[in-house]
């Protein structure tokens, strides 16, 4: 078991070291089996599925025939054992099992067959090399008659899918036997090809009742007319066609959604089919075969029907796919995975042809970015962690895909529109930073307290706001706010930021009528920028936008909120850090009368001076209320802060800070309160 557990931690199948000799694999699998059936989750849902398919297939490729059989038996029990792996109640997630079954049986899931019908195939598992023999291109998917696989669960009454599947498989095996006798029989080959497509479609799930009936009828015809006319073997071009259609396992899974996952893993896992395909690759006429039409009339009519019904793609398609899509996968598996990824992100792949079309679309959308190329390049380079590989000279610039450079801090961004947009957002961020820096000049900033571990763990939104993900141009303070330690256990940084953005938008809507003689009042005292005069038709007035009037001064609404939020955050940090008890104890009047009575200071006052007589006080409304609703109830001391300009303070800096806070807050309490109420009612 140790080897399993440890393998669980490995990142890729090809790193697995098959250290257990083949003869000892089976007991380990039995152990795994036993754990899964007795313990269940999380082994069956989380731990084992991560590596099960890889490990199983690797072992399967190494063991002898008898053990293979035992492993298949075990696989069968996984299908029938009840478990929590899937919604259907199977032991493991279905795509894991499907993946294994597809890899070892080919794309065919055999139905129970009368024993002895094809006795020569009992327990016969052709080694991969046989696939490369051109005369038996269809051999890789022999019916595994020895293992009775239950067909997929029926979907409907009437003609059940099971019965159709059974019929289909029987027909298919008959045709295969026929083809085995006469490998150059193109008509049989195409029949097999069609049947295999049908089967794939059936296995994929959603087949309507009408389609089932149609398929059933066609199958009856096939069976009624088993002696398909035998054509002379003059068309070798047909070989690769049937070969690839049986080998490449055209993915029937668009409906199940597991397509990309399955292929992605399959590419990593050792699968005999690959080597087989490699052998087939250079076969003559591989491309020519694609256009060849099937010979048998009834087959083509069936095909036409089905194609019209949207069930099957055109005959040629799977062949073309087999040749074009699968072959590059051998040489460069990685781009294929990434292509699959893109497909997965597109969501629906109706047929291979459509899937490719969508591929192309997605690619063109992403192309200007250059990131896709970079990611693929990175994966293809696959630098190994050995000194030799690390010492290699690579003609590659790690930043070459990031041509957009910030002129201020040299942060780099991708090419194309995405990159430019992000650079723009980044520059905006610089702009706001710098503006804020100027605002805070002379006010004296402080180092903040550090977050608790629990907060840090969840400090996701705040850590990266500002530089990377910030889109909203006015969410400057979102980041700093989120980073302030919070008293509550749960961090609501994300929602706080969102609330903040909404709030900012509202602030920006505020406007005042321009005063009669604006000289001397035209600049915001905080950011020292002038208000923009604007004439509004509706009001027939000149106004200043993003502006509030507090007593006799005009401020930018956002600047003011910013400044107040900073002060409030400071206070909050104090209250948080100090249990708040000394502050609150010293401010009994804090909550009682918010209108006039000065509560104790929370800003920059030595504890021992808090109780001193308060001579002059100003009051600040609390932006915290509109900014971070969840904390509203926090404390009275937070809600109202008072600044005593005459307190004996230790340093000039602090004094100046208090002074500036005081100046800022110099609004009439009534007005301020109205503003708060207004904001709240909004």
């Amino acid at each position: 078991m140790a080897s399993f557990c440890s393998e669980a931690g490995t990142k890729r199948g090809n790193h697995l070291d098959p250290n257990a000799p083949p003869t000892q694999k089976l007991p380990l699998f039995y152990l795994l089996d036993s754990i899964s059936k007795n313990a269940g989750p999380p082994y069956t849902t989380y731990i084992f599925p991560q590596f099960l398919a890889q490990v199983y297939l690797r072992a399967y490729s190494q063991v002898d025939g008898l053990t293979k059989k035992k492993m298949e038996d075990m696989l069968t029990t996984w299908r029938t054992t009840r478990g929590a792996g899937t919604p259907e109640g199977e032991l493991f997630p279905r795509d894991v099992r499907n993946h294994i079954e597809q890899a070892i049986y080919g794309r065919m899931i055999p139905a129970p067959m009368p024993p002895g019908q094809m006795p020569m195939q009992q327990n016969m598992y052709p080694p991969p090399s046989i696939h490369t023999v051109p005369t038996t291109p269809f051999m890789p998917t022999p019916p595994q008659s020895s293992i009775s696989m239950a067909p997929p669960p029926p979907h409907s009454a009437g003609i059940s899918r099971d019965s159709v599947t059974t019929t289909l498989l029987t027909t298919l095996s008959l045709k295969r036997a026929l083809l085995a006798k006469n490998p150059h029989d193109t008509s049989t080959q195409s029949t097999v090809g069609i049947l295999e497509q049908l089967q794939a479609h059936l296995n994929a799930g959603s087949v309507s009742q009408a389609e089932l009936v149609a398929i059933q009828q066609q199958l009856e015809q096939f069976r009624a007319n088993p002696s398909v006319p035998s054509f002379p073997s003059s068309t070798p071009a047909m070989h690769p066609r049937s070969a690839s259609s049986s080998l490449t396992m055209p993915q029937p899974v668009p409906y199940s959604g597991g397509f990309s996952g399955v292929t992605g893993q399959a590419t990593q896992s050792p699968r005999p089919d690959f080597s087989a395909l490699q052998g087939l690759g250079p076969l003559p006429g591989a491309a020519g075969g694609a256009s060849a039409a099937p010979a048998g009339l009834d087959f083509s009519s069936l095909l036409g029907n089905l194609a019209r019904a949207g069930i099957l793609s055109h005959t040629g398609t799977p062949v073309a796919d087999g040749a074009t899509t699968t072959t590059p996968r051998l040489g460069a598996p990685v781009p294929q995975i990434r292509q699959d990824l893109r497909e997965a992100s597109v969501g629906s792949v109706n047929s291979r042809a459509d899937g490719q079309h969508e591929d192309a679309q997605v690619q063109t959308e992403d192309e200007p970015d250059g990131m896709e190329d970079y990611e693929e390049l990175i994966l293809r380079m696959n630098v190994q962690l050995t000194l030799a590989d690390l010492s290699q000279q690579r003609d590659f610039q790690p930043t070459s895909h990031l041509p957009n450079r910030c002129s201020q801090c040299a942060a780099r961004f991708a090419a194309g529109k995405t990159g430019k947009d992000r650079l723009q957002a980044h520059l905006d961020w610089h702009f706001r930073r710098n503006r804020k820096e100027r605002e805070s000049e002379g006010r004296g900033a402080n180092r903040r307290w550090l977050p608790r571990a629990e907060l840090w763990v969840n400090d996701i939104a705040s850590a990266f706001t500002g530089v990377r993900d910030e889109v909203d141009p006015e969410s400057t303070h979102g980041s700093t706010h989120g980073m302030a330690p919070r008293p509550g256990g749960s961090d609501v940084a994300g929602s706080a930021v969102a609330a903040k953005q909404r709030n900012t938008a509202e602030l920006q809507k505020k406007w005042v009528t321009m005063p009669p003689n604006p000289a001397g009042k035209k600049k915001c005292p905080i950011c020292k920028e002038e208000f923009v005069d604007e004439f509004v038709q509706d009001e027939e007035e000149w106004i200043w936008r993003n502006c509030v009037k507090v007593k006799n001064s005009y401020y930018h609404a956002t600047c003011r909120a910013d400044a107040l939020a900073t002060a409030a955050a400071n206070r909050k940090a104090v209250a948080t850090a100090s249990d708040g008890h000394n502050l609150r104890a010293a401010s009994p009047s804090g909550t009682a009368s918010r209108e006039n009575t000065p509560p104790a200071s929370a800003v920059g006052v030595k504890p021992e001076t808090v109780a001193s007589p308060l001579r002059q006080s100003v009051k600040m409304e609390n932006v915290e209320q509109s900014v971070a609703g969840p904390d509203k109830q926090d404390s009275g001391a937070d809600n109202v802060a008072q600044v005593d300009g005459k307190l004996d303070l230790p340093t000039d800096r602090v004094e100046s800070e208090l002074g500036s806070l005081k100046r800022k807050a110099e609004g009439s309490p009534e007005h301020a309160d109205k503003e708060v109420k207004k904001e709240k009612s909004e």
Binding site: I337, V383, H430, A445, I460
Partner: protein
């Protein structure tokens, strides 16, 4: 023209004392190594091409002010870069001492940057694979590479950690940079162990070249938010047990972050360490398991690599752990103790006072000594005096400690002791860490698990009045939390 907000010409560099301006061209793939003493400020800018200091790219034509550094500027592009620099006297530093004010500099074409960048590419492909995997298997996500950097003293471990983090950030990843060397304060003060998600470029101009934590004001760089464990000593050997304990606690926090944060998870972890050798194998083993390390990079220590390969044979053969040796840069210089000490002082100073770009206003206040509960870390030698009689070269083993542990499972005796009657000799001129733990907490174990809220500095203790003068970063009352007295001294 001054664009509002960008402050282009608002802070002109005072060029009165600028003695010289030198321009030179740095060839591609070579690096310019320079040492700037604390008494000198080097104003450096790249006027053409790309130049980076330990992976952090310099913006074009924006001068960077450096003092007290031993850095290397690397030109990654074949066309090289053009560099302009000038020096001036650093007026913040006390004049008088005999230290030279000259910078020393030379150009070297022999750098291991190629290997370092290749190492970055290897990690990058790992990250990409992880991201792809996590995209396909959102229910069972995996973590990006967890890289442990080991090596001797003065091997360039920290520089490598910075290069890897900088590059990762450049590629839009946000790895957690873990510093386990209590000698350096990374985004924090010396004596601490920190973990910080890298959310912006490093601030080359800050005291230790990393940058600062959040302030109430604005900073030129997006502030980093570390989680800080207090160790309280400058060397792990001062109390190895405590060190290991704190490392593993930090590991738990970092691993939880990786679980919560998809961005960080795909990016992984980069761990910088003090100089550990094979004698410290149990520390290394701890780190490997605490941070689920899967890539060990040994800087220029073949012997350590071989020994570690033996020790971790099992993990390596299971592909759970990759181990690679990487050469040391010829540019690494031995840091002498006084330089290290000065770096630490600058870091502390910056914590309270900020730097030239963003000055901060710390808060001086006087508080009652008795208002607080104090603990301090225990020196292993004090706790177990017999250790001091070990023959030289014999390493400290934990075997005999195990019995002690069994004896008093809940005792903190070998980690922290309460400071019962704090007086001047025990507090004055020391850095004190404020924990996140309220004073009324009764669980001694909690003290081991808590993190640091911030630091204060005690400048004077008036024993007669029972008061002490304290420097706090916040204009605020000092939180009534348990205080941990470190051994880090500092005078303003």
């Amino acid at each position: 023209m001054s664009i509002p907000g960008f402050g282009g010409d608002e802070n002109p560099v005072e060029d009165l004392s600028e003695t010289n301006a030198t321009t030179f061209h740095l060839e591609g793939k070579s690096e310019w190594r320079f040492e700037v003493p604390f008494k000198t400020i080097l104003s450096l800018k790249v006027t053409e091409g790309v130049g980076e200091i330990f992976g952090t790219e310099l913006p074009l034509n924006v001068p960077v002010q450096l003092t007290g550094v031993k850095y290397a500027l690397y030109a990654p592009l074949p066309e090289g870069c053009t560099v302009e620099y000038s020096t001036r006297i650093n007026r913040d530093q006390a004049p008088g001492s005999s230290d030279s004010t000259d910078i020393s500099e030379y150009i070297s074409e022999d750098t291991p940057m190629n290997q370092y960048i290749n190492l970055h590419m290897a990690l990058e492909s790992y990250r990409q694979e992880t991201a792809d995997y996590n995209y396909l298997n959102p229910s069972s996500p995996r973590s990006g590479p967890r890289v442990l950097i080991l090596g001797n003293r003065s091997a360039g471990k920290t520089a490598l950690a910075r290069i890897l983090s900088s590059y990762a950030y450049k590629m839009d990843h946000h790895p957690v940079l873990v510093n386990l060397n209590p000698r350096d304060g990374v985004f924090s003060l010396p004596g601490s162990l920190t973990a910080t998600p890298i959310s912006d470029t490093f601030d080359l101009e800050s005291a230790n070249g990393y940058g600062g934590t959040t302030t109430s004001g604005s900073a030129v760089h997006n502030p980093k938010q570390p989680v800080v464990k207090n160790f309280g000593f400058l060397s792990p050997t001062d109390n190895l047990e405590l060190y290991k304990y704190q490392v593993s606690k930090l590991g738990v926090v970092v691993m939880s972050r990786l679980e919560e944060d998809a961005d960080v998870r795909n990016s992984g972890v980069i761990i910088d360490t003090p100089a550990l050798n094979i004698k410290d194998i149990n520390v290394i083993e701890n780190i490997v398991s605490d941070f689920e390390v899967n890539v060990v990079v040994v800087v220029d220590n073949e012997r350590l690599l071989i020994d570690l390969r033996k020790k971790f044979k099992h993990k390596i053969s299971n592909s759970q752990l990759a181990m690679v040796k990487i050469p040391k840069s010829g540019g690494v210089v031995e840091l002498d103790d006084s330089f290290i000490r000065q770096c630490q002082e600058e870091t502390i100073k910056e914590y309270f006072n900020g730097d030239r770009k963003t000055p901060l206003s710390p808060f001086k206040t006087e508080v009652d000594v008795k208002d607080f509960r104090y603990f301090k870390g225990v020196l292993s030698l004090d706790f177990n005096p017999s250790l001091s009689f070990l023959p030289s070269g014999d390493s400290y083993t934990t075997d005999d400690m195990d019995e002690d542990r069994k004896k008093d499972e809940n005792s903190m005796d070998k980690f922290y002791t309460a400071l019962e009657d704090p007086d001047a000799s025990k507090l004055e001129n020391l850095i004190i860490a404020i924990t996140q733990l309220p004073q009324n907490n009764k669980q001694p174990k909690d003290l081991l698990n808590t993190c640091v809220l911030g630091y204060i500095h005690v400048s004077r203790v008036d024993e007669a009045r029972g008061k002490m003068k304290v420097l706090s970063p916040m204009v605020a009352a000092i939180p009534r939390n348990i205080l941990l007295v470190t051994t880090i001294g500092y005078t303003e």
